[in-house]
């Protein structure tokens, strides 16, 4: 099974991507779809600018996907990550896992997100609503800890 991996500036449609996986199959019992969105609770963010390392982003996500396929019996796997300018409320990342059983689909999706957060070469810069260029988003220790738990 070859995972679907795309790095793109264009928006994506999670429902469409899941339907592509389901289509015509009778062997999938569980589909888990994770969508990560650009959040701005206090109204100070104009946009996030997502920089990435072309070539390595695809390669690294492919390595993480292979790791997931080695750990869990998956029927299908899709990862889409946007780059460029992303507005509050817009989707940034999509992970879809399909499996016979729900436990495998859930575990693989969570693993993929934890690893993408800490290993995929993307960096977020904030553009503020007041027109100024804000800071680069700082990596969170919480994300490292989340990825670390899969090594136990």
């Amino acid at each position: 099974m070859t995972p679907t991996i795309r790095i793109q500036s264009a928006p994506f449609d999670p429902g469409h991507e899941a339907a592509l996986i389901e289509d015509g199959r009778r062997d999938i019992g569980a589909i888990v779809s994770f969508t990560g969105l650009c959040r701005d609770e206090d109204g100070t963010l104009a946009a996030l600018e997502l920089e990435h390392y072309p070539g390595m982003a695809e390669a690294e996500i492919a390595r993480v996907a292979e790791e997931a396929l080695a750990r869990w019996p998956l029927s299908a796997l899709t990862v889409i990550h946007r780059h460029g300018r992303i507005l509050p409320g817009e989707r940034i990342v999509l992970v879809i896992t399909a499996a016979r059983h729900r436990g495998d689909a859930f575990a693989a999706a969570e693993f993929l997100m934890d690893y993408l957060k800490t290993r995929a070469p993307f960096w977020k810069k904030e553009h503020r609503a007041d027109g100024s260029v804000g800071d680069w988003v700082e990596a969170k220790a919480k994300d490292d800890a989340a990825a670390e738990r899969w090594n136990k």
Partner: protein, 83 residues
């Protein structure tokens, strides 16, 4: 070898990529960082906290102890914040 810089490393150095020709005694990624740091203030600022700098050789993550021999492309960047 080709060097690539991303995010605030790129901003501090003031360029996204360049060709590097380190002297032969520079054997590891960490030594390459130390060599770059000594070039000028921009590099010194970019690499001031070398421990946080992540590195990749030929599009795969490597550690600072990794030898650079044979590397075609080496990239320097802050901890990732994608996803």
């Amino acid at each position: 070898m080709k060097a690539l810089y991303f995010a605030w490393v790129r901003e501090r150095i003031g360029r996204a990529e360049e060709e590097l020709s380190p002297p032969p005694e520079v054997a590891t990624v960490g030594e390459l960082i130390a060599w770059l740091k000594s070039r000028d203030e921009a590099y010194a600022l970019a690499f001031e906290n070398a421990a946080v700098i992540r590195t990749a050789i030929d599009k795969a993550h490597v550690r600072h102890e990794t030898p650079i021999a044979g590397a075609r492309e080496i990239a320097f960047f802050p901890p990732m914040t994608g996803g």
